[in-house]
Amino acid sequence: MGAKGLGQGVKLSSVEANSTRSQTNSRNSNIGAFGSAQAHKQSHDIIRIDDLHIAIDLKGTDLEVVRGASFRIPAGKTVALVGESGSGKSILAQSILGILPRVARVTGGSIWFREEAEDEAIDLTSFADNSAERISLRGGKISIIFQEPMTSLSPLHTIGNQIGEALELHRDISRNDVEPTVVDMLRLVGFPNPEAAFSMYSMELSGGLRQRAMIAMALVCNPALLIADEPTTALDVSMQAKILSLLKELQQKLHMAVLLITHDLGVVANMADEVVVMYHGQIMEAGPVEAIFRNPQHDYLKALLNAVPDLDMAYDAKLESLRDIDHEIPQSMQRDADERQSAPDTLLMSVSGLSKSFTTKKSKGWFGGSNTVVRAVNDVSFDVKRGECFGIVGESGCGKTTLLKMLVRALTPDDGNITWQDQNGKTDMLALDGRALKEFRQKIQMVFQDPFSSLSPRSTVLNTLKEPMEVHGIGSSREQAEYAAELMRLVGLQPTFLGRYPHSFSGGQRQRIGIARALALRPDLLVCDEPVSALDVSVQAQVLNLLKQLQSELGLTYIFISHNLAVVRYIADRIAVMFKGQIVEMATREELFENPCHPYTKALLDVVPHADLDHPLDFDRINRDMAVEGREWNAPFSSLSDGEDMEMIVLNENHQIRVRKGTDPKQLTR
């Protein structure tokens, strides 16, 4: 069968050799085939899915998760499969590979696979998942990369071992040739030091590099189809842009088809040739990307397009979430709200010179290793005014979470001051301890990123909501229960849900429970650590709108951390951009997005994918900009002496920027 054809009898010492070979391969159907011998060949469909049904066995009853899906993946093209979590898109991809979880099975329909135009199409569903035919296709002809680069590699085996394994399984290759081929592949996917990476473990790599390693593993056998299951969802925007650019480049080099599964319409607009929209296991709309974006037909698709925050939308526009939340403010909270709203725009929290370093010990070899000091947060100062939403943007590792932990007194800073100001005067937050600190903690509460792990699976929602009050000894048990019901209504959930456990809620509902828990102590300041980044687009709009409404209705102050510029733009009044532990630019929202001044801010703005075909990412520029490791900037943005000569200067009353000391603001605003 066709699965044997590729690479048989051809000794390949490098991946580059693969790609040159495959350029003369007939798979090269219409990309760059002009003038080649194969030019006359028609583009064919690598995969044709025909009325596919997949069911999950739930304790004896079948739940259909894919209900009659039909679409095609043309050779060499990118097809984007769009839908919310739970829409069945991932399980559809798993059925193509034959790696369905044990509870799921294909109940009807067929998946036709045809590697070359002249091959006989085979129905993959006619083989068992563990049949030799399917196993030889997996990783050899069809491969997959997953969303979670952190967990999709084995922590116990080296990168080289795991990538080489795919090669040994599907290629007739001698043991000695494995390492050079893998190293070549690692170089191709952009590893800075592929030889060293070969014998490294996944935990020694950053998220971006792990995803690159995954890509290398998927592509090392030069598959005809790559399934990318949310490949960039877990990554930062700049890393996302890099990975997308890499995928695009590799697709052209290796001439493979890509099935891109995503819920991010910005990614779709930049990557896809064709789009398939899935909702509740059914295909709602399918077609070329132009038609889908310029002329969406189905209501679901239209709603989805409106639910994404975008950098181009008006500043006061409201996101239209697919399902709005009705919530009510309980009387008891209204009083607090009135009190808070009586003094807007006064200083609430003032942070100055905050620093925190971590020492990481690297144990290499038998005699221990050297210590490296990482300055996670370095001389950060800002003020937060009562009633505003202060956004902090930065990529992972920039120190935003460390900063936040210090603000809630979960970490002790090495240096600096945090001052709290309210009707009782000023409080030095770092000097608090014992009872006073416990008392004070009620004023600041936190909303976490991951709605799945931030709620205890063993306690009911009622207990989760009561716990903060129990800790602080507020009210009797009955009063606490009544208040918990009010909190549920506050976030638009039924009080009858109180007896349930977190697993019976969706991600968005859990996040609302997390918000309710944070509000249980009636805090003045809510610290939100990426509260929507783990949520679907539609739910994201819903939670953002809820947060916005609660803020204005209860007069809350937010510190809102995100890596998503569009989200921060939607919710924050003032925004600080963090890079390597420092705030490099801080301005009001309009000012920051209209007149970004720092090169880092500009670079961040450039890598956000827009759900707009007329506004594509400039992949060439991203590759050029990102090629420079460590990002060297021109004067006055770079330091000559390890940061000693840098300071925040004031451009105007709304805008501050970190530059070399003594820089003239006028020089920057030209």
């Binding site: 590979l97 790696i99 979880p101 563990n130 196993i135 030889s136 296709l137 997996r138 990783g139 050899g140 491969s143 997959i144 997953f146 979670e148 967990t151 999709s152 590699l153 084995s154 922590p155 116990l156 085996h157 795991q162 394994e165 795919a166 399984l169 599907h170 473990y201 935990m203 995954m214 593993m217 971590f358 020492t359 010990k361 144990s363 070899g365 038998w366 005699f367 221990g368 979960a410 970490l411 002790t412």
Partner: protein, 332 residues
């Protein structure tokens, strides 16, 4: 790694000192000493006791010294390899224990091997066929094994062996070979007698191990990296052994440490029931008759083996799992 091992060996010393103090104190806690229980025995037998001889015995064994002096004496001798003198057996402790040691080790090893050979396939089968009839059946058997006390199983087996097969399964060899030099018939006899004790001692351990392998493997089976391996086209069995099984073995390696002392201690109660010539019954009688050097040295020996065993598993884990950091500590 090297520094870590040095540090860990250094940390063993205070641990063992503490253990020795605790062991010595506990042995001394019950009122009286060996001489007293010896006199009691003599009186019970209707013999007269010479007070001078009692005093002589006390002085001879240092029993008239204050406790801390006796402790110092015992521990300094212990460190130098002199484990003291067993009052009851009238022989040095090293000799008393040494005689039984190799049989004990034999029984223990046989048990451990049996446990692993049975538990691994069953545990893996149960995990990969979760909630199948096979899993339920094996789980039932395993829980039965876990719930049955060893000594009871020993008694039941002895009874049935006697009534149905007419053989006595007590002891570790036929009577005529005891204290005889090693020969093929003797070796064969030992092997024959080994079966029942091995099964009896191993049952509970096997059952517990099956449950742990199953639980640990189940945790890993649905992990993303296993799906990655399947998606790569790794054949099912290799994908199981190379990834999730390897990952689930950490508990097993950590357990190896606690095996070391159990090899020497030799399943006390079962050994008494089956009258095996292992060290287990020795320890029990020593504790009962306040044979303080025998009991103390024996317990100290076990403590040392425990500490060494834990160190060995920690080092093995450090080599097997690259994620394990040798220096700990998170700062706030």
């Amino acid at each position: 790694m090297f520094r870590y091992i040095i540090f860990r060996i250094g940390a063993m010393i205070p641990t063992l000192v503490l253990a020795s103090i605790v062991i010595f104190t506990i042995i001394q806690l019950p009122p009286g000493d060996y001489v007293e229980s010896y006199i009691g025995e003599l009186l019970a037998a209707g013999e007269s006791v010479d007070l001078a001889r009692v005093e002589y015995l006390r002085a001879e064994y240092g029993l008239d010294q204050p406790m801390w002096k006796r402790y110092i004496l015992w521990i300094t001798n212990f460190v130098q390899g002199d484990f003291g003198y067993s009052f009851e057996n009238q022989r040095p402790v090293s000799e008393v224990v040494g005689n039984r040691l190799w049989l004990t080790i034999l029984v223990s090893f046989a048990t451990i091997i049996l446990t692993w050979v049975i538990a691994f396939p069953i545990g893996i089968y149960s995990a990969t066929h979760q909630y199948s009839w096979g899993d339920y059946g094996l789980t039932f058997l395993g829980l039965l094994g876990l719930a049955t006390p060893n000594f009871l199983l020993a008694l039941v087996m002895m009874y049935f062996a006697q009534t149905i097969f007419g053989v006595s399964i007590g002891g570790l060899m036929d009577k005529e070979y005891i204290d005889q030099p090693m020969s093929w018939p003797k070796f064969w006899s030992v092997l024959e007698h080994l079966i029942v004790p091995t099964v009896v001692i191993g049952t509970a351990g096997t059952a517990a191990m099956i449950r742990r392998i199953r639980a640990n493997l189940l945790d890993e089976l649905e992990k993303q990296y296993v799906i990655t391996a399947r998606a790569k086209g790794v054949p099912p069995f290799k994908a199981l052994v190379k990834y999730p099984l390897r990952m689930s073995l950490n508990f097993f390696v950590a357990d190896i440490g606690s095996l070391l002392p159990s090899i020497i201690s030799g399943a006390e109660i079962v050994s008494i029931v089956l009258s095996l010539q292992t060290t287990g019954p020795l320890l029990i009688t020593a504790l009962k008759s306040q044979d303080m050097y025998l009991a103390g040295s024996f317990l100290m020996f076990l403590a040392t083996l425990t500490v060494i065993g834990v160190l060995l598993s920690d080092i093995a884990l450090g080599f097997l799992d690259p994620r394990i950091r040798l220096q700990g500590g998170a700062d706030k």
